[in-house]
């Protein structure tokens, strides 16, 4: 006889535990820290490619699902980013996957592998940062430098647009834009250029939802993650939040 897996048992047990959290103030312990951190991110990212301010209650629901006040991790890594072998924290802090555009300037350098793993306030910020990094769509685009001056350069034998761009601190896109007729290069020909570089930019945002968080933050390890997050979010919205001095 095939034994059917207890498909609902796990979730039901979790639900029983979390329902007791409502009204227990220790589950609100990180409310003010979360609100502060979410405000910092919202201020920093407002205006980028149609960014919609993040609702801090999503993050509160996430830490209820990720660690919860009854787990010792609640006071170490409430968002669970930076657990042993976690590539997520490294990719956020390395900056070269878009983390440098997401993390507010005040926190760059302050968030480190050591601090994220041991200080809850830093863990919360890294978790939010990673979540937002996963909610953003990035693209490499040619971006003009602050110096808007137009320079000129003479084409040397063997030159290509790529070579000129590299040598002059510009980009192929900029050269093409300023010299629309320079399809074929001739030695001695004079090209215009501006200082520019190819940079990663945020082009759009995913619309945040519990199922998207489950997919992009948790990666389906827990088959009930989205369902748990929905439940936690409804409890968080119903319950009282801590009063914070803003």
């Amino acid at each position: 006889m095939a034994v059917q897996a207890p498909s609902k048992a796990g979730f039901d047990k979790w639900q029983d535990g979390i329902n007791k959290a409502v009204g227990d103030s220790k589950w609100n312990a990180w409310d003010c820290e979360i609100q502060m951190a979410v405000n910092e991110y919202n201020r920093h990212l407002s205006g980028t490619a149609g960014y919609m301010p993040l609702d801090w209650q999503f993050i509160k629901a996430m830490i209820w699902v990720e660690s919860g006040a009854n787990n010792s991790q609640w006071n170490i890594k409430p968002m669970q980013i930076g657990v042993p072998g976690d590539p997520g924290m490294t990719s956020l802090l390395s900056g070269n996957e878009g983390g440098d555009l997401i993390v507010p300037p005040d926190w760059k350098g302050r968030l480190t592998a050591g601090s994220v793993r041991t200080i809850p306030a830093h863990n919360i910020r890294a978790g939010i940062g990673y979540l937002l990094m996963r909610m953003a769509n990035f693209e490499y685009r040619s971006t003009l430098d602050a110096d808007a001056k137009v320079y000129e350069v003479a084409v040397k034998p063997g030159d290509s647009l790529d070579r000129i761009a590299k040598a002059q601190g510009s980009t192929v896109d900029t050269l093409k834009k300023l010299n629309p007729t320079a399809a074929v290069l001739r030695p001695g020909q004079v090209l215009k250029y501006q200082k520019a570089s190819v940079q990663r930019v945020i082009t759009s945002w995913w619309h945040i939802s519990t199922s998207l968080i489950a997919q992009r933050y948790n990666g389906g390890g827990d088959p009930n993650y989205a369902k748990k997050l929905d439940h936690a979010l409804s409890l968080v919205r119903k319950g009282k939040a801590a009063l914070c001095a803003q």
Binding site: A5, G10, V83, D86, G219
Partner: protein, 147 residues
């Protein structure tokens, strides 16, 4: 319901103890394991799956010991015993290699998720494969005639 209970009672009481001892619960699939451990928050779930993986390693170790012991007592010419022992060692080695590769693949299906999710998938996969292998090994030598 009453009939079910009676059948259950009979299953437990009517079969000889030796049959019950030999039949271990069938190995759960990795998804069922994750469902079961979903009773906890993510931090607790990882611990739950780590324990499952640990006990699967123990189950596999015991099954391997059982096979080794059965082979040494096999009522067969030494030549064939030696051959089976060599094949068994090779199969253990290849299984471990397959398991690690397969579970690395399972873990990679977490994509860009944070560490817990990746590890949960890996641990659930390790548990399932170890338990299935243990089951296979137990079955393989169950009918071996012994000296």
């Amino acid at each position: 319901m009453r009939t079910m209970k009676l059948i259950g009672f009979c299953l437990a009481a009517c079969f000889p103890v030796s049959v019950l001892a030999a039949s271990t619960a069938p190995a759960l699939g990795e998804r069922a394991l994750r469902e079961e451990c979903s009773a906890f928050s993510q931090a607790g779930m990882r611990d739950c799956l780590a324990k499952k993986a640990e006990s699967s390693r123990e189950a596999l170790r015991q099954a391997e010991e059982k096979v080794a012991s059965a082979l040494s007592k096999w009522a067969e010419d030494q030549k064939y015993i030696n051959q089976a022992q060599l094949k068994f060692a090779a199969s253990n080695k290849d299984f471990a290699q397959y398991r690690d590769a397969q579970c690395a693949f399972a873990s990679s299906l977490g994509g860009g998720a944070i560490g817990n999710a990746l590890d949960m998938r890996r641990l659930a996969c390790v548990s399932e494969l170890n338990q299935r292998r243990a089951e296979q090994l137990r079955d393989a030598v169950a009918d071996l005639p012994l000296k």
